[in-house]
Symmetry: C2
Subunit: 557 residues, 2 copies
């Protein structure tokens, strides 16, 4: 890594651009790197056997000594979920974060048994973090989780404002407002670059306040004839608070059902992020003894995750909760793109079990955590940066933000559409992409085997589509004759019980090959196997239109 001249700053997204998820951004001045966030992303449908995807941090590992810290903006998985995987590779560089984000991260780090080796440093809204050449000031924003911050990153090359995830909410659940005054004050000193959330740039206007969700909860909980089950993210402390408030108003008890939501409920109430009146909470195992009309259950599974509470309930496979006719279920979340199928499958099953399911299109039981286009514009105007840098969005959102910034007066060359690994170099006179570092995605199988190799993934994709055929033949090299087999094993290709003709023909073609095989031939076994693979592939494609993975094994006996 080269040392940068005075007055120059580099911004390098390691994730979070061209995608929603695995946010991780590097800032470099002189010979030092500061990292903001360290998130994960859920796999695409064709990433078979992959549990989570994290940023490829090869470049940080190569420049380990330069990395001063990781600063977290808030406690969502797409901003903290990569820590457990990545921290050990960075010699456990210190992690700064708000209390709630660190609290949530601790849970994951201790599950992975690396909590003891990491350095976590809490910051509050009034702290000023001095980290090498960087001075970081948090600025409170509104978001769907408490304790969310934008960061003002002061450097010798100028000040960057990194918004993190934000929206404006004039009536926030916890009463804590977006600190517009602080943002404006720092911005007035002059800002080199704004790195902005763009998730909802396509939506016009302002996102409604979380309070609208609370009002809907009130209405539903007041009228529900039986239990009310609210499914959301385990980190959705605001929703928990509104559910608790509504339950209290209408004389109901509250149970958090499921490991992650229980843990977060307890941590948030202990740490002061969740106000729980005395005596309102019941334990998950005691819900059976509370009258249905006096119970609110909080659970997870709002994304259709197969192992979460709501999916288990939908499949009648939950230890504590069995769906009944009079249950009212609130899906207090929107499907994350890619999860739609799974979410609606769960909703349909719950409805088929007789429950009344309430989701976004029926009543306002969810608002987004990300500001709409007018909110993004408001921040861009307040900060009034030299350069406008959209992140936290797919290509279409980044491009949309570019267009909006240009409509607002930024020059085309002062707003950027970055890809992961792009090295954006900024100074007072110009900004441009000067390089690309090695970067990308690491596919993690959290069942224990760690990163999944792309060869393995490609094979899985091939197997999913067409299955495989293994051919085993024992060959007597001296006589050139088959002494065992040919045996054919196959799965996922054709239904073997109905495919005798095809298999017989394949066997016959193998025999034919060896009939022409000279005694004492010196043809390499790899070449022989290659011949057989080619001829079987052709045979199968011609006969079935499919292309199974074909693996011949010729054993010399």
């Amino acid at each position: 890594m080269e040392t940068l001249p005075e007055g120059t700053l580099r911004f390098i997204p390691l994730g979070g651009v061209g995608e929603i998820g695995k946010n991780m951004y590097a800032y470099q001045v002189r010979d030092q790197i500061l990292v903001v966030d360290c998130g994960l992303k859920f796999p695409d449908d064709d990433m078979f056997g992959v549990d989570v995807v994290v940023p490829d941090v090869r470049w940080l590992i190569e420049n380990k000594d330069a990395v001063q810290a990781i600063v977290l903006t808030h406690g969502h998985e797409d901003h903290i979920g990569g820590l457990a995987h990545i921290l050990p590779q960075l010699d456990n560089v210190p992690v700064y974060g708000p209390k709630l984000a660190l609290g949530l991260a601790k849970g994951r780090l201790s599950e992975r048994k690396i909590l003891g080796q990491v350095t976590l440093r809490e910051f509050g809204p009034d702290d000023i973090l001095s980290i090498g050449h960087f001075t970081v000031e948090p600025i409170r924003v509104s978001h769907s989780i408490p304790d969310s911050f934008a960061l003002a990153i002061r450097t010798p090359a100028g000040t960057m404002i990194h918004t993190g995830d934000f929206k404006f909410d004039q009536t926030p659940v916890d009463g804590l407002l977006f600190d517009v005054a602080k943002l404006a004050r720092i911005s007035e000193e002059g800002v080199l670059g704004l790195v902005s959330d763009t998730t909802n740039v396509e939506r016009p206007g302002f996102v409604p306040s979380e309070q609208i969700v609370g009002q809907t909860f009130d209405r539903i909980i007041r009228e529900a004839p039986g239990r009310v089950i609210i499914a959301s993210f385990a980190s959705q402390i605001h929703r928990m608070q509104m559910a608790v408030n509504s339950a209290q108003k209408f004389g109901r008890k509250v149970a958090a059902v499921g490991r992650s939501i229980q843990t977060n409920f307890e941590f948030a109430s202990t740490a002061g992020y969740l106000q729980v009146p005395e005596g309102i909470r019941v334990r998950a195992e005691d819900t059976g003894s509370v009258r249905a009309a006096e119970l609110v259950i909080l659970t997870t599974g709002s994304q259709g995750e197969p192992l979460a509470g709501l999916s288990r309930m939908a499949n009648d496979d939950h230890r504590q909760v069995r769906i009944q006719e009079n249950d009212t279920i609130i899906l207090s979340a929107s499907p994350i793109p890619g999860n739609e199928d799974a979410v609606w499958r769960v909703v349909n099953r719950l409805i088929e079990r007789g429950a009344n399911v309430i989701y976004d299109t029926i009543m306002p039981v969810h608002v987004s955590g990300h500001g709409y286009s007018e909110e993004l514009k408001l921040v861009l105007n307040i900060v009034n940066p030299r350069y406008a840098i959209p992140v936290h969005g797919e290509a279409r959102m980044l491009r949309r933000y570019n267009i909006i910034a240009q409509e607002m007066g930024w020059r085309k060359e002062d707003t950027f559409h970055l890809s992961i690994g792009d090295v954006l170099e900024l100074n007072e006179t110009e900004g441009k992409v000067v390089d690309r570092i090695p970067s990308g995605a690491v596919l993690v199988d959290s069942s224990g085997s760690g990163a999944i190799h792309e060869v393995v993934l490609r094979d899985r994709q091939h197997l999913a589509e067409d299955g495989f055929v293994v051919l085993v033949v024992g060959l007597n090299r001296e006589t050139g004759e088959i002494v065992s087999g040919p045996e054919i094993l196959s799965r996922g290709f054709v239904y073997m019980d109905h495919s005798e003709d095809l298999i017989n023909d394949a066997v016959a073609s193998v025999r034919e090959y060896f009939e022409g095989f000279p005694a004492g031939s010196s043809r390499e076994i790899d070449a022989v196997q290659g011949d057989l693979r080619q001829s079987l592939k052709k045979l199968f494609e011609r006969r079935t239109g499919r292309r199974p993975l074909v693996l011949p094994l010729v054993m010399e006996l």
Copy 2:
């Protein structure tokens, strides 16, 4: 099949309830069956290697002689796409349909080389079809394809109104209005059951007119600096018409690019569904010779289908069209649930190639073909049936329609939430589900191998998740010793180059097993293979957390 008494009618959905897709509905009176529509559905993400899904018509096949006809409501794939697969199994029962639907169906039937064996009978809006005990009168409706009809099905047991897909459009592209008068006139005679579209029951109000799309086309085509590429369904004749109209207004030529859209463009203009001014059309291969600012291209791929025009353009893999900086691309469709990922992937790629992509959230370039809740209510009130039967929807839509019908005064027991195969028996005094027939889905691999067996699909799902391991050992039964191998072949499980230890341990465990294997043992080879499978599965799961498909092959030599 039992003969029904006078005054009794049975309605049996063979597809289209609890799902969006593969619409097919059977009506039975006395000893005769009438079938409405014969659609297909696209496969779920985990239906590997499946091209299309069609209804399981075992029950119709068993009662072949009772089936009088299939009547088509309109020409969309989810209403006609199952014909090619199903007609041959029903001894080519006659198919009645509007001209456009039959025209589109013919294409598919002739591709499958069965056009010669089928009987197609065209009907127009004023025809009355006398089919056995059934008298069918088509009623024109508005939809996203011309020539769409509801059906009034008169039977000795009463009249059924089958809406097909519908919306109201007071300014339709082809000027042909929903024939409300005819619907009202027939309804006034008394209707036993209304079988209604429910797709957009969750959306409040009325769907906007198609004209709004035409106005947006005008605006975009007037201002676009270069080519305008419009992607939609190949069957979207209305959109083609509006594109042609806009192109003419602003002095541009029109090219249909892609096989299916070319075919439909030609058929629709020959048959009078599409008005194409002289000289406006250019051939796909001649687009290069037209100035970019004077060209509109129509193509498919609005659902992200990998082989369609737009995807190929996004991947820079299209024979005729290469995306340029000044191209404006209109995505004139909404992603069908389940296709979101694929659609946005294509959009993002097109944007990365520099194109200006316009989709639904940016400008109104699409309206739905299905009426919103007020339209569904309007039809329910006009028809005023004894029984209200929602179809063409997932469970959540059917349930929503039930609730709305109850709010409008229908009794709970007079509106139904049916599943595929439910036999709903109706007469003047009561309606109830009396039976369930064998039914479901058939997974079709259109590459030629026909239906895909569920065992094969399950294996593909297993292989996708964890891959496979094949173990081959040559055994001398007399000595009980290994004479060849153990050899291990594996794909999609672990990255073999990094897994030597694991493979060596697996081999060692196999050797160990045979060390304890007595000479001349009479243990069956299947049992030996079973032992090996169990021990390897355990070893792999303990060491990797994964459960590959394990196939041991012991060859006696």
